[in-house]
């Protein structure tokens, strides 16, 4: 007998043996569940329920640096069972058939998810996305360094802040906040004339701008050092962190409304682990996981049953219960490819004009 066939026969025998064994005793579910997630959410405390229910399942994380990164990774062939981008990428992924609808009846915590936020994950009458984390984008100000605290997005143009503003490095954000400052009610449906007005207005803002920011840590370091007095589109998590550091900061409620981002999970069309993926979403939505997200990271949460578990100071800092602010929040919408292109090019031109 050739050695190769010998090994093959032994293998066959083993497989057959395993099949007999598994038929006799109810074996725990095994396998591997893979996630494409933001770093920080891989901590087991965020998915305790899953680990308890499926102790034999191996959970593997790969990380995304931003929503566009998750889109690019999936486009270039990364296979995962769950992906976690923010809402401005939800529609494009649905339209391109990259994700599948969720069977929410298999998610026990679904009944407590804030319906207004869940609605944003629906397309063509189906729930594709399970929202999980959200946050404000507003203006964070070093009160001790400015004469006047701004009250609106339009106040960013105040010459008092010359050379001390940080803007978020994205054409989408730049377009939206400038449209709001100009009084355009829907920044996502602007006319070409309005786009030109936005470009001009942004050019006028540049002398006030010290730098653009793209990572939360980097922004917080510049606010703490006093280089940046007025941080535009800062996240509420940064506000919580700056308060924790004992800085005299204020997170304003601009007259035009705060911006908002919402992120969540979907199951890629290529996943063959749908039931496990649904169980994982359920675990992430559990009140204890959501409360940890708010208490440790200062992010907004979607499970209403988790709000009592959030400590009062954090809940107040996040305005978690302030329906007045939340209802006026302007969440990111879907961009058409044309808008994405032209806003990025406009921003590339404006930010390099100095």
């Amino acid at each position: 007998m050739q050695p190769k066939t010998k090994y093959f026969n032994i293998l066959l025998l083993l497989v057959a043996g395993a099949m007999v064994l598994s038929a006799c005793t109810p074996k725990p579910v095994t396998g591997t569940l893979t996630l494409l997630d933001w770093s920080g959410y891989e901590l087991p405390e965020f998915w305790t329920d899953f680990a308890t229910k499926y102790p034999e399942v191996k959970v593997e994380f790969s990380f995304m640096s931003e929503s566009a990164d998750s889109y690019a990774k999936m486009k270039s062939g990364t296979l995962v069972d769950l992906v976690h981008p923010c809402s401005n990428f939800w529609k494009i992924m649905v339209d391109e058939g990259m994700v599948q609808p969720l069977d929410t009846s298999k998610i026990s915590n679904w009944k407590d998810v804030n319906p207004a936020l869940a609605l944003q994950g629906q397309f063509n009458g189906k729930q594709y996305w399970a929202p999980w984390d959200w946050g404000f984008e507003s203006i964070l100000v070093r009160r001790d360094l400015v004469q006047n605290v701004p009250n609106s997005w339009a106040d960013l143009w105040n010459p008092e802040y010359k050379g001390h503003i940080a803007l978020y490095d994205s054409g989408e954000t730049a377009h939206v906040i400038t449209a709001l400052a100009l009084g355009f009610t829907d920044p996502w449906s602007t006319t070409p004339e309005q786009d030109e007005q936005i470009r001009q207005k942004l050019l006028e803002l540049m002398p006030n701008v010290l730098t653009v920011w793209s990572s939360q840590t980097e922004l917080e370091q510049m606010i703490a050092s006093g280089d940046v007095w007025v941080a535009a589109s800062a996240w509420n998590a940064s506000y919580v962190n700056m308060v924790d550091q004992g800085l005299d900061v204020v997170y304003i409620d601009p007259a035009e409304g705060r911006g908002g981002y919402l992120c969540g999970f979907a199951i890629p069309t290529t996943s063959t682990n749908v039931d496990l993926a649904l169980a994982m979403i359920d675990a992430y939505l559990a009140p204890a996981s959501q409360a940890k997200l708010a208490n440790d990271y200062g992010y907004g949460i979607v499970n209403t049953a988790a709000i009592p578990l959030v400590n009062q100071t954090t809940a107040d800092l996040l305005s978690l219960n302030d329906q007045n602010i939340i209802s006026r929040t302007i969440f990111y919408k879907y961009l058409t490819p044309e808008q994405r292109d032209s806003w990025t090019n406009m921003w590339s031109e404006v930010k390099t004009s100095q």
Binding site: Y71, T211, T344, N345, W347, K351, T352
Partner: protein, 283 residues
């Protein structure tokens, strides 16, 4: 082992590696530059539209030009600073040479980002330099010094590249036959003239190699401008990143990368007119 198979076994592994992770990706990018979008059958077309819109976009071209000037400046300053350093190490340092060489490399053992952040802490509004100037009464209000500007990008990258530029110059100076210098002295040639007529010309291959060491990677820089450049220090690399990450316009990003590749080749071509390509390799 005959000569040919020895050559193959030496060149083979790195050659295949380069082919896979360098030439193939560049080829893929070249193909992408003619597509109309990222993926999907609808975008499987051949188009020159991306090249046309690149040629129409004066902003992209201006920034490429500006970045080329920035990186030539960086490479120039790095070389000017590295030369005396390498000269000292080869001709004056004697037994301390190895120690000094190690000291030169030590900073690169820590994370680059960490070093940038500490620069920002020293030069920032609440940093050491501001505190000093404030307490001396030389300034009235703290503000960032040097950082968030094009000069900051240049200063930071010169600091980063000096050790790497010094290495090829060091190697070139060390190869110089010292008896040539002794002969010059014997024949009554003053030291400065011996330097200009013997040392400098013989070390030029190392100088050019060092210059390109700094020039080529800095042309595509995007991390340093992001961290210390402020709004006036953006470079071409930042715009390429925007096309890939923000606009999701991979074809345009590819066209821009191709344009940069051409710019680098052009710069190399122009500068190698002063010396042959084999000099660059340090042979």
């Amino acid at each position: 082992m005959d000569k040919r198979s020895r050559f193959a076994s030496l060149i083979g592994p790195p050659g295949i590696y380069l082919l896979l992770i360098f030439l193939v990706p560049i080829g893929v990018m070249f193909i992408y530059s003619f597509r109309s979008g990222i993926s999907g059958v609808a975008h499987d077309t051949f188009t020159l539209a991306n090249y046309q819109s690149f040629l129409r976009n004066t902003n992209f071209q201006n920034l490429l030009w500006r970045s080329a000037i920035i990186s030539v400046t960086i490479a120039g300053f790095s070389t000017l600073m590295a030369y005396p350093l390498a000269y000292y190490l080869v001709f004056k340092a004697g037994a301390k040479r190895v120690t000094l060489m190690t000291l030169l490399i030590v900073p690169t053992w820590t994370s680059y980002l960490l070093r940038i952040f500490s620069w920002k802490l020293i030069l920032g509004s609440s940093g050491a330099l501001n505190s000093l100037l404030l307490s001396l009464g030389w300034i009235e209000k703290a503000s960032p010094i040097l950082i968030y500007s094009q000069q900051a990008v240049i200063a930071t990258l010169v600091y980063v590249w000096v050790p790497f530029v010094a290495l090829p110059i060091f190697a070139a100076l060390e190869r110089i036959d010292k008896s040539l210098l002794e002969a010059a002295t014997d024949l009554g040639c003053p030291k400065w003239e011996a330097f200009l007529r013997i040392t400098l010309p013989l070390s030029l291959p190392g100088v050019l190699a060092g210059f390109f060491f700094a020039l080529i990677p800095t042309l595509g820089e995007f991390v340093t401008p992001l961290l210390v450049g402020g709004v006036s220090g953006s470079m071409y690399g930042n715009l390429i990143q925007d096309q890939f990450m923000r606009a999701l316009n991979w074809p345009m990003g590819s066209v821009m990368s191709m344009a940069m590749l051409l710019a680098v080749l052009f710069l190399i071509f122009m500068l190698t007119r002063f010396g042959s390509l084999s000099d660059l390799a340090g042979f």
